[in-house]
């Protein structure tokens, strides 16, 4: 990993909704527009039918309580009610059934797009974003989106329709009572908005404390073994208790502020109910009175229905206010997802491709089968891959401020072994990162067999370079799968051949299940040196024309390294090899050794030449100068 650029994003991002997020989100619904239209229609049917149901209760009660009930009307009303109910149930099920594949499908598309885009992003994106932040796009943010698509949207439509429908029905029943309801509602909403404001402050505090606790836990669990060695368990536990208690307090505040919302809303709506009942009873008692020429008198049946509506009215509004929070967080999540999708992918305008070639009558032609002979294809021209790598006046900076490499020039002739030595931060790893275009240079050129690497298709460029990285990451899977990672088409024999070459075969056969032993990502079951041997085997099986070994043998003891060297010599034969090593015994037999310091090459030559120069390399070699 690169040390210099590990700037973490702030752990808590403000939930700001960017313009256009909603529109873009709607874009994902487009393929389903017809089905969604059906969903909206069904939701309308369901809501209207259920409102109708409430409305139909009134004539039933009125008829029955009228003193002279009409039986046929009673039955007819009941049947109408049943039809309305059935319609509502059927429509409710239908829209939910249509929504399930849609919401899952949309999310699946979002996830795939997200992951696929993530794969194409340049490495500096990874350098500036923590894994936690990126993971949370796949977990928290898509979850919030799922919640909104699957439940939020239908619920909002239902709630709005209900509010509107009930409002109209209430208005028809009694304008006077409706006015009272509206007044009460206004008060309720004011209360909610005041509370919500207060609670968002508490939630921010909680988020910050949570980030602290999680960060502490993460660091301490990662350093658990050191804690054990220093018997520091009690101190760590004490500190944790403190942070944990801080979190408890802020979390309790946040939870209280959102928790009291429900009883407050619920009971205010009861008060609304009571006031409506009181006024309603008064109106009913007044009989057919008028106010400003409007009839404000109501019957008991009207009051019964109206009271039902009062509850039906405030309920969806309470729901809407609760939905609001989750919608805001879903939109914030969607915004973060879109931010990632808007990141520019790795630039790749190269057209030169890598092909397997064979020679016919002195001319190179493309071959379908593996010939072990490679060539570059530029237009109709075939250029044999020889492994000639040149850096011309290369200047590079990770952050645009500090130049990590300054005007570096060197060449590696085909088949040469070039070693890079120098302190940590001198720019050794950076050079390899530039050759395979993990990062693009700002000034100068890098050529591969005379072709500017920017003209080479990135994937083909990387395929031509076998890299053993400084930190040897193995994947969850068997030993065999891990070695085969270098070349998915490799046969079992080729895998074992590569393992023998890197001297890993011996220890693999001593593992409980040999080549089928499952490795975990953390790789607790292998030593650091063994992991490096596997990483070398992984590159060996890929059989690339050019090799880059970045501290590939740093944890392997020198005796084993000497053993690998025989295999490596075979592997390196005829290939251009770049070796970065700390241990000078590793680089001794290189054709050319480049000594880097502060991004510049200060010495170059063979081992003997450099020793004779009695410069920096000599000092390093004799131990008079510190390497780090």
């Amino acid at each position: 990993m690169d040390k210099q650029k590990n700037q973490k994003q702030p752990a808590f991002q403000k939930q700001k909704i960017k313009k256009g997020t909603i529109k873009r989100l709607l874009g994902y619904f487009k393929p389903y527009s017809i089905a969604l239209l059906a969903v909206v229609v069904l939701i309308i049917i369901a809501s209207v039918a259920s409102i109708l149901g409430t409305y139909l209760l009134k004539p039933i009660v009125d008829n029955a309580a009228s003193g002279a009930p009409v039986w046929s009307k009673f039955i007819r009303d009941l049947i109408l009610l049943a039809v309305a109910y059935l319609l509502s149930v059927a429509a409710t099920y239908a829209y939910a059934a249509i929504m399930v594949p849609i919401s899952n499908g949309i999310l699946n598309n979002v996830r795939k797009e997200l992951f696929s885009h993530l794969q194409e992003l340049p490495l500096n994106y990874y350098d500036t974003h923590t894994h936690g932040d990126l993971m949370s796009l796949f977990t928290n943010d898509t979850d919030a989106m799922r919640e909104m698509i699957a439940n939020g949207v239908p619920q909002i439509i239902t709630s709005l329709l209900r509010v509107a429908g009930v409002f109209i029905a209430m208005l028809i029943l009694s304008p006077a009572l409706t006015a009272i309801t509206l007044l009460m509602l206004f008060i309720m909403l004011r209360v909610v908005s005041v509370l919500a404001q207060r609670s968002s402050k508490y939630f921010k505090n909680r988020q910050a404390d949570l980030a602290k606790v999680n960060g502490y836990m993460e660091e301490m669990i990662e350093g658990q073994k050191v804690i054990k060695v220093f018997c520091h368990e009690n101190e760590v536990a004490k500190e944790f208790t403190k942070l944990n208690e801080d979190l408890r307090q802020s979390a309790a505040n946040a939870s209280i502020s959102s928790g009291v919302l429900m009883p407050i809303m619920g009971n205010l709506s009861y008060t609304l109910f009571a006031v409506t009942a009181m006024v309603g009873v008064l109106l009913a008692a007044m009989g057919n009175s008028t106010l400003f020429g409007l009839s404000i008198g109501i019957t008991i049946g009207t009051l019964t229905s109206f009271l039902q509506y009062t509850r039906n009215f405030s309920q969806p509004i309470v729901q809407l206010s609760q939905q609001f929070q989750s919608i805001m967080s879903a939109l914030a999540g969607a915004g973060r997802i879109f931010d990632l999708l808007d990141e520019k992918p790795e630039e790749d305008s190269g057209t030169v491709t890598l092909i397997q070639a064979k020679e016919v009558d002195g001319c190179l032609i493309e071959s379908d089968t593996c010939t072990g002979k490679w060539a570059w294809k530029r237009g109709d021209e075939y250029i044999p891959l020889r492994g000639d790598v040149r850096l011309n006046n290369v200047t590079f900076s990770y952050d645009g401020k500090v130049n990590v490499l300054k005007n570096v020039s060197f060449y590696a002739k085909p088949g040469q072994k070039i070693a890079l030595v120098g302190s940590t931060g001198a720019g050794k790893t950076t050079i390899t990162n530039l050759i395979n275009r993990f990062y693009d240079i700002q000034e100068g050129t890098i050529t591969f067999d005379g072709i500017d690497i920017k003209e080479i298709k990135k994937s083909d460029l990387r395929r031509s370079l076998g890299i053993v990285l400084q930190d040897t990451h193995l994947f969850t899977g068997t030993v065999r799968e891990n070695i085969r990672y270098g070349n998915p088409l490799a046969t079992d024999e080729e895998v074992e051949e590569a393992a023998k070459l890197s001297n890993a075969h011996f220890f693999i056969t001593h593992l409980p299940q040999g080549y089928d032993t499952v490795l975990t990502a953390d790789g607790a079951n292998l030593s650091q040196g063994q992991r490096q041997l596997l990483a070398i085997a992984r590159v060996a099986v890929a059989n690339p024309p050019v090799l880059i070994l970045d501290e590939a043998t740093s944890s392997i003891d020198t005796r084993t390294e000497a053993l690998i060297e025989r295999g490596m010599d075979k592997l390196m034969h005829g290939r251009t090899v770049f070796v970065i090593a700390h241990r000078l015994s590793t680089v001794r037999n290189a054709d050319a050794i480049l000594v880097l310091e502060n991004g510049e090459i200060i010495e170059r030559g063979s081992h003997e030449e450099l020793l004779a120069q009695k410069g920096r390399y000599y000092k390093l070699y004799t131990g008079a100068f510190e390497l780090e």
């Binding site: 490495l123 990874y126 994947f475």
Partner: protein, 593 residues
């Protein structure tokens, strides 16, 4: 990864067992929980009383109002509002208490799990991956908190509402309430049926989800390898497969779950219709008043809502079972190494070390160390050298009892390491790990890990021996330099020297350096060894190194080969008689004239 065991519900199938295990986490907040339950019950009762008053309001209030007496309407209306306000008061208090107790609960839970991890030995740590422990402490803990919160809020409230409402409907009209005798069992059986089919599907969905996330995580960690091998396409294919599986499992589970709402609506509506029919006829016959009918209808809605809430709560609980199982797995994990019965006054006398016929294996695996016999005198410097995988690290980890031997014994200061209190042993045996960690904080804070109350002079002294003082002073902030998380602000070699200084501050009797100077240049390396020799006379030093230079002058060099001691001796002796040693030596010195 033990991802298979994560969803091993069966291990904690008994819900009572789960509750019993998690109950202690509520310590200190028990009374909040009890009071919150108490107030929820009060609130629920109030909520039920209000429609009752409303009935009186409509029935008697209207009649009186018709007769010109408006007072009863306002009397009952006033009572209703008072009740609503009281209910609001208790509701707010119960919400507050519930919030306090549920956050208190999760705080206790986190603390219990975290402290449990503190008691883990190395073998326990090897069993769980770091990432999985963190997930358990974060995501799983908050899942459980949600389940707890919902249980005490809705899980208590809904049944109370159900019971009170049922009693009230019976008092209003017992005959009419018989309808519930049909409706509730129908609803219950349907839900139970639905749940029993849906839960396995939900479980499957969560598993797929988990596996997808694990895939993403690994992809992020290995992105450089992925890009270097141009395997993005393979990665995408594998992710798409996993994502599709999540989608399919999600559809399978949700298509069942969406049945819940229409089914409960169907039942509610059927009851409404039945009440409409029977109630209507009763009104016509004069067997029921219109007010009674209205109250009855509102209680029906209440009862059925409660049933739905209960079933949803139940589902939430079952869903959080996976999280509970994962957390309990940590709580239940027994530390492999304990020192409970050891004498706290037994301290390490001197730095002598003795291995007697020691064999060791990780877990149930093959023996990694066999028949190790070794005696080290106090104050000796011992070098250990051997090939990759020859168990050098394993050997020294037995000395501070980071792992326990499989057979044989390890003695420090003449006493078996298993007889010491761990603190006493590890204070005397200081080990610098190969994969070492610095913590966020200043250099001084990090060094103080070795000795909490060290004076500045002691700290500087230790830093000087580790050849760290000079570079520390070259930083603008000296010992106050902030290291950043994981010590990202210092180079590899500097980091190693800091960890050595940290270990030295303990003033140990035994110091173990496990490849701890690999990034340090040979000169500084030699200076560290020289300083150690001069400043710490009685310190037994064990050095694992790749470089022969680092151990050449040791009093004793142990050559390890495939878990056995191949030879022990001084440099010259070994050069003469030990072929492995000769090979190692020559691999590092050839060509040097």
């Amino acid at each position: 990864m033990e991802r298979d065991s994560i969803f091993d519900y069966d291990r904690s199938k008994k819900t009572t067992g789960v509750i019993k295990k998690l109950m202690p986490c509520l310590k200190g907040y028990g009374r909040y929980t009890v009071f919150s339950i108490f107030t929820i019950i009060i609130e629920a009762v109030f909520e039920m009383l209000i429609p009752l008053i409303m009935k009186v309001l409509i029935d008697t209030g209207i009649e009186e109002a018709k007769a010109g007496n408006y007072a009863p309407v306002f009397k009952y209306g006033g009572i209703m509002i008072a009740l609503a306000l009281l209910s609001l008061f208790f509701g707010a208090i119960s919400a507050r208490l519930a919030a306090i107790s549920s956050t208190g609960f999760v705080t206790g839970l986190r603390s219990k799990v975290f402290n449990k991890i503190q008691s883990f030995s190395f073998s326990n740590m090897d069993k769980f991956s770091t990432a999985s422990l963190i997930t358990r402490l974060t995501n799983d803990a908050s899942m459980i908190q949600n389940a707890f919160h919902i249980s005490i809020r809705i899980g208590i409230r809904a049944p109370v509402l159900l019971i009170v409402a049922t009693i009230l409907t019976i008092t209003i009209n017992a005959k009419l309430s018989l309808i519930f005798a049909f409706a509730l069992p129908v609803l219950g059986v349907t839900f139970a049926l639905l749940a029993s089919i849906a839960f396995p599907r939900l479980k499957k969905m969560l598993e797929e989800y988990d596996s997808m996330n694990a895939g993403v995580q690994e992809n992020l960690i290995g992105i450089r390898v992925i890009k270097a091998f141009v395997s993005q396409k393979r990665e995408k294919e594998s992710f798409n497969k996993k994502s599709d599986r999540v989608k399919d499992a999600g559809i399978a589970a949700e298509s069942l779950l969406i049945l819940m709402q229409p089914i409960s609506m169907l039942v509610i509506y059927a009851v409404m219709l039945a009440v409409g029919y029977f109630g209507g006829t009763m009104i016509m016959n004069g067997a029921m008043s219109a007010g009674d009918f209205t109250s009855f209808l509102s209680y029906i809605a209440q009862i059925l809502m409660s049933v739905i809430m209960i079933s949803l709560t139940f589902m939430q609980l079952v869903l959080s079972r996976a999280s509970m199982a994962r957390v309990i797995e940590v709580i239940d994990e027994e530390p492999y190494i304990t020192d409970d019965n050891n004498d706290p006054d037994l301290t390490v006398k001197d730095g002598s070390i003795e291995f007697n016929n020691v064999s060791f294996a990780y877990g149930e695996g093959l023996n990694v160390l066999c028949d190790i016999n070794l005696r080290i005198e106090p104050g000796e410097t011992v070098g250990i050298i051997g090939g990759t995988g020859s168990a050098k690290t394993t050997l020294v980890q037995l000395i501070p009892r980071l792992y326990d031997v499989k057979s044989g014994s390890v003695k420090v200061g003449g006493v078996d390491v298993r007889d010491y209190k761990l603190k006493n042993l590890r204070d005397a045996v200081s080990m610098v790990l190969q994969k070492n960690v610095l913590f966020s904080g200043t250099i001084e804070e990090n060094l103080r890990w070795g000795k909490h109350d060290a004076t500045m002079n002691e700290i500087i002294e230790a830093a000087k021996i580790a050849q760290a003082h000079d570079f520390i002073m070259s930083f603008p902030n000296g010992y106050q330099t902030d290291l950043g998380q994981g010590g990202v602000n210092v180079s590899g070699g500097q980091k190693q020297r800091l960890t050595i200084a940290r270990a030295l501050l303990k003033s140990p009797k035994v110091l173990i350096l496990d490849d701890s100077t690999s990034a340090v240049d040979t000169n500084t390396d030699a200076n560290i060894r020289k300083a150690l020799k001069e400043k710490t006379k009685d310190l037994t030093t064990i050095i694992i190194a790749q470089r022969v230079n680092s151990i050449m002058e040791a009093d004793k060099i142990v050559v390890l080969n495939e878990g056995r001691i191949a030879d022990i001796g001084k440099h010259d002796e070994l050069l003469r008689r030990c072929e492995i040693y000769r090979e190692v030596y020559s691999s590092q010195t050839r060509e040097v004239g």
